[in-house]
């Protein structure tokens, strides 16, 4: 099944052409070619060790790789540092501590790409930080040091940091880590709102049911692209079931696609 049938000339936010990457001597990605549509939410899924995070890191330029990556139609390497940082924001996994910084300071770091060196934050910076912290319901603890927060609260602050960049393209590696169900639902709404504003969101999610709420899905297996298609497409569901050894089945519940565990191997 071909995706994007209805919207013929799709604008592409990120495209990868034959990218391969290795860590040490073991190769992680094998010649992946991908075109991620602008203004949509794409989730990347696959079993442990399939290369999801590595792919995401390669797309941001954090991971040296062969092949080429283009951001908004321009090779990533040709972007000036500051322009790239304003266009593309990134949320990593298990990142540094920053325990001494207050919530507000952490979110303000998202404004670094917008600030000239040594100049204090502008009114626009403060407004963006407030908006981002309110969006993740972290505004009330803006004066608290990050070190005093729980894992989930921290994650919401880091999300706010990502939002404060106000980039066109947002890449997130396991953004739902440590979040409880209400805040997972909030995150889904937030991403939908971002996409409605025309932004592009790409996320790695290990929770397949949440990943199925995206517009499109990229399924990876052993560092190779197994499938790329719309989340509601049957082909995508078949690829998902295949990549997880048919230990899940994808079903619709109350209008939402869900991956349910299959307790006995077929």
């Amino acid at each position: 099944m071909v995706s994007f049938v209805n919207s013929a000339p799709e604008k592409i936010a990120i495209s990868a052409d034959e990218i391969s990457a290795s860590i040490g001597k073991s190769s992680i990605l094998h010649g992946i070619t991908l075109h991620l549509a602008a203004g949509r939410w794409t989730s990347i899924v696959g079993p442990n060790g399939a290369g999801k995070s590595t792919l995401l890191r390669a797309l941001v330029g954090l991971m040296p790789c062969s092949g080429s990556v283009q951001l908004l139609g321009r090779p990533l390497a040709q972007w000036p540092r500051g322009d790239r940082a304003r266009a593309l924001s990134w949320l990593g996994q298990n990142e540094g501590a920053a325990d001494d910084l207050t919530v507000y300071d952490v979110a303000m770091l998202g404004r670094l790409p917008h600030q000239p060196w040594l100049s204090p934050p502008s009114g626009a910076d403060h407004a963006a930080v407030e908006q981002a912290l309110r969006a993740t319901q972290a505004w009330d603890w803006r004066h608290r040091p990050l070190g005093q927060l729980s894992g989930g609260e921290r994650q919401r602050v880091l999300l706010a940091r990502l939002l404060a960049v106000q980039a066109q393209v947002l890449l997130m590696d396991e953004p739902l880590a440590n979040l409880d169900p209400p805040h997972q639902a909030d995150w889904l709404l937030l991403v939908r709102a971002l996409v409605a504003q025309g932004k592009t969101v790409v996320s790695v999610l290990h929770e397949v049911s949440l990943a199925l709420q995206a517009d499109d899905m990229v399924v990876l297996a052993d560092g190779r692209l197994l499938h790329h298609g719309a989340c509601h497409a049957q082909g995508t569901h078949a690829a998902l079931e295949q990549v997880f050894d048919h230990r899940i089945h994808v079903r619709q519940l109350e209008g939402m696609w869900m991956a349910l565990p299959r307790l006995q191997a077929p």
Partner: protein
Amino acid sequence: MSMSVAQRGRWLGLALVCASLLLVPLGTAVGSVGLENLWPALFSEHTEPASRAMAWQIVWDIRLPRTLGAWCAGALLGLAGAVAQGLFRNPLADPYLLGSASGASLGVALALALMGGGAGMVAGSKGVIASLIFSGHWLVRLGLTGAAFAGAVLAVLLTLALARGVQHTLRLLLAGVIVGVVLGAFTSLILLLSPDSLQAMQAFLLGSTGFVGWTSCLLMAGVWLLCLLAAWALSRVLDGLALGESTAHSLGLPLAPLRAALVAVLALATGTAVAQTGLIAFVGLAAPHLVRAVVKVPHGRLMGLASLMGAVLLAAADLLARGLIAPQELPVGVLTAVLGGGYLLWLMRRRTGAGGLL
């Protein structure tokens, strides 16, 4: 919490400035000749010009530069500690990590051996008289200071070469440890071959503020201001790095040149302090910790506060070193090691009691 972070930071800064203003005049009063003898000699109508000149010399030529020198060296070490802990993203990092301490030791050991030992710093045990005599040997002092500084800088360069640049923090740390061990072995070998320099070397290893004159004082103050300005300008990089390497990269920070600049600040501040006062332990490690125990601030403000904290710590330790068993004198490095180590032990016990490590 009734006070905001910014307010607490300001209060701490104010308290440290007040402590400094108190410590500097106190520093001129403590030593083998007490204030009760100095004061009349300086200001009484009936004093002979000769003893007035002598008293004036003690205050102006020895104690004031020494106290201010201790303050400046402490400020340099506190600043270097804050930079090192931010750069390595490790609260246990100290300014000597990149091999500067062992490099400076090797430089001094070499210089002492070449000069035939004994010529340089004889431990503060002989007090004011010794420093009066030996501070006169400016050529010797310059030789030792220069050797220490050159050793520190060369050792840092060696560490950087071994780590193949500043890109990998862990590799940098490991290279620093290796350089420290190897240069330390060479220092031991030199000392073994020229036992005459052992006593003077001891003074350097323990750290001493006894020989700081006006020139070194001004030098340290200048370098401190320069390093503080540079560290402050680079502080947002450290804040960004605290969020992790990949986030810092995604924020568009040019990490390699900025790291190199931070290492340069670290090496310059540490090398200058070590060259003037020897290896003073724990000030660089403890000062940023003490600040963080009171208030959590971004790196921009941490630089200033850790500097002030280090300055007050070393000025106070210097005062104690002179006062505790006056007219004898303790090496100030011994005091900072005992006090700093004790503080860290207490901190560790408190934190482990609260369920965490440092």
